[in-house]
């Protein structure tokens, strides 16, 4: 197939493997690594029930038994500490949260212990921990089931953060995360679960520190985090209708963050739209824009940048205003168009083509 389904494998130059859903790619990575490494285990609320955390842990209990995959009491703080202690002791835990919002109960252990242990204990121990969490989005998830709070973790040295945007990367990043000797915040998105991409059968690592140019272009650079990468690809299609060719970049790993690839692109396009899957203030987009300002400013290059993300408000449940809370392909395309054609009149993309990439096929509630 010529055009990539979702900015994943093809653009990565990888066309091997089978078409797999994001959720199945996640599961396959964990399954293969659990088979390879007996130290790996999975814990978290409801990972072992019949819904298998929205399918992402399906079959692991049957295959590896209750000692290597188990649910927990409702006790995020202690369970996070337990996972960290197990990692210090030489195991390789994967701690799963069905909503990223719940990580606020784990902050003390993640920020004060996981991120600092290797350093503050003089390198004597390591914390090879993976913390999976899902950014919620569907119907009326509302204020506390919709947050993308990854920039809080990007802020903390000692933590790594990754947010794969497609099935191919989900597998490669998960394998890299489990094998990493540091705590890795693995950020997933509910709407990406059913999305498909070509994924190699064999194990492979998508290591930290390299952003990917998903589709090349010369007029404007679009950077999208997690499923906002998908919306950027839709926006690129819309922009093509009006003769604006966008280069789309997927940072993949948010910490460590490779901005060189973005710098290279913006040196060319002089225009950047970065789309966060969370709020923009002190968000990933702020960091990216700031680094570009540092690098390009030093070169005397002036460029235009606009950050998009969640509206600076609380996520409402009512569909009419919830829809306005999120960036969508139309709004992304319009922002890029404004930068590319400052003198042109306001442009509104065809509404039918502009619907949220994966919102339309989704039916709730969770």
């Amino acid at each position: 197939m010529s055009t990539p389904k979702n900015g994943g494998p093809d653009a990565a130059g990888n066309t091997g493997g089978r078409v797999l859903r994001y959720v199945d790619a996640l599961k396959e990575a964990v399954d293969q690594e659990m088979a390879r490494d007996p130290r790996v285990f999975v814990m978290g609320l409801d990972v072992d029930d019949h819904k298998a955390l929205q399918g992402s842990t399906r079959g692991l209990l049957q295959k590896y038994g209750p000692e290597r995959i188990f649910t927990t009491p409702l006790a995020e703080d202690a369970m996070t500490g337990t996972a960290i202690g197990a990692a210090m002791a030489g195991l390789r835990p994967i701690h799963v949260h069905i909503r990223m919002d719940f990580l606020m109960l784990s902050m003390n252990q993640l920020v004060n212990m996981a991120a600092k242990a290797h350093y503050m204990y003089g390198g004597a121990i390591k914390v090879p921990l993976v913390v999976r969490s899902i950014i919620g989005k569907s119907w009326g998830q509302g204020p506390q089931h919709s947050q993308g709070l990854y920039s809080m973790f990007m802020h903390i040295p000692g933590l790594k953060v990754v947010a794969p945007s497609n099935a191919h990367d989900a597998k490669g990043c998960m394998l890299a995360a489990i094998r990493d000797d540091n705590p890795v915040m693995f950020v997933e998105h509910r709407l990406l679960y059913p999305t498909e991409a070509y994924v190699p059968e064999e194990m492979f690592e998508l290591a930290p520190g390299k952003s990917r140019v998903v589709v090349p272009g010369g007029d404007v650079t679009l950077v999208g985090v997690s499923n906002m990468l998908v919306e950027c690809l839709r926006a690129r299609e819309l922009l093509a209708d009006v003769g604006v060719v966008a280069e789309v970049i997927d940072p993949i790993w948010l910490s460590p963050l490779d901005t060189d690839t973005i710098v290279k692109s913006v040196r060319k396009t002089r225009r950047l739209v970065v789309v966060d899957n969370g709020w923009t203030m002190c968000g990933a987009g702020s960091e990216i824009a700031a680094r570009l300002a540092e690098v390009l400013g030093a070169e005397g290059i002036s460029f235009q940048v606009e950050r998009l993300g969640f509206a600076p408000t609380i996520c409402p449940t009512s569909p009419t205003i919830e829809e306005l809370f999120y960036p969508n392909p139309a709004r992304i395309a319009q922002a890029a168009y404004r930068l590319a054609k400052p003198k042109a009149p306001e442009w509104t993309p065809d509404p039918d083509r502009a619907v949220l990439a994966y919102q339309k096929q989704f039916r709730g509630p969770f």
Binding site: L74, G140, T313, I314, P316, I321, P365
Partner: protein, 319 residues
């Protein structure tokens, strides 16, 4: 059968019936996708909310969990505003912003609920601090699930409430499950909740048969003592059972994590027919008819209400 004054009987039945019928209608409407918000139904658990709230005064406070329709209704929250909220309408009790998991009706002393398990328990302590300062003897009932008792904040809250002698009624709706995981797989000693609470010096009561009047009597007996400051906080554990799936309108007895055999005794013990049978047949007819009218009205109200204007996205971010 206990002898209960007819008024109370009618009031309790009306409340039980109203909750049941309201949620049955929510379940009926849900597949139409008009309610674009997760709903956690209390069908089968009504007697806890009704028993507790019926023993409270109008100006006492109560707050439920994300499974909160029952407490909202039992405490007298506006039903039209509730249905409108589920529909995401501007006339909803939180103006379409909070949805089913974040109900509030301050005018009727229903405090806000939350989608994060356990978060409302300490919030209730803050209200209780204010009530104690106010000195009018008002109390607050804070509902939580069996799963919430595993969260550290629950223990921190028990200690502080007891330390400060706060007028809080902790009500644990123990339906034996957190989503699909039974309490026996989450708690080392599942039947020790009351015993544990007592170690904080908090009187703890347990009702195992969901008897709405037993629940009501415990609260009715304790509240005056709380108003006079003789009691600080009290704790009430009520065994109950969730008939429907954890979230959504359907049954899930085919999922494998529980059986209809487990359900059956609770159906046999359903408080609604039980209390109905205690009523004069005519009273019952009147109440049933009234309930249908109220529920139908709430649907009509929700249906015809407008969605929030686009500007509402940005209003109330800051006060």
């Amino acid at each position: 059968m206990p002898d209960i004054d007819p008024q109370t009987l009618r009031r309790v039945y009306h409340s039980l019936r109203l909750i049941r019928r309201f949620e049955e209608e929510v379940a009926r409407i849900y597949p139409e996708d008009k309610i674009k918000s997760p709903v956690h139904l209390s069908i089968g658990q009504e007697s806890v909310a009704v028993g507790v709230c019926d023993a409270l005064a109008k100006d006492d406070l109560a707050g439920g969990t994300y499974r909160g329709h029952a407490v909202y209704i039992a405490k007298g929250g506006n039903l039209n505003a509730l249905m409108a909220e589920l529909y995401g309408k501007d006339t909803g009790c939180t103006r379409g912003k909070g949805g089913s998991m974040h109900l509030m009706d301050i005018a009727h002393n229903v405090i806000g609920s939350s989608a994060v398990v356990g978060t409302t328990v300490p919030i209730a302590l803050g209200y209780a601090l204010a009530l104690k300062r106010e000195g009018k003897g008002r109390v607050i009932a804070s509902f939580l699930g069996d799963g919430a008792t595993e969260e550290g904040v629950f223990h921190e809250s028990l200690n502080f409430a007891a330390l400060k002698h706060l007028p809080v009624i902790f009500v644990c709706e123990n339906n034996f499950y957190a989503i699909h995981t039974p309490i026996s797989r989450r708690q080392a000693v599942p039947d020790a909740i009351c015993e544990r609470v007592k170690t904080y010096g908090i009187p703890a009561y347990r009702v195992t048969d969901a008897d709405v009047f037993k629940i009501r009597d415990i609260v009715a007996d304790a509240v005056p003592k709380m108003r006079r400051g003789e009691y600080g906080p009290i704790f009430l554990e009520c065994h109950t059972y969730r008939w429907r799936e954890h979230v959504g309108p359907a049954n899930d007895y085919d999922a494998g994590y529980r059986s209809t055999d487990e359900l059956q005794p609770w159906v046999d013990n359903d408080q609604i027919p039980r209390v109905a049978a205690m009523l004069e047949p005519d009273d019952r007819k009147v109440i049933d008819a009234d309930v249908e009218k109220i529920v139908a009205a709430s649907i009509a109200f929700a249906e015809k209400s407008p969605f929030p204007a686009a500007a509402e996205l940005m209003t109330n971010v800051y006060a």
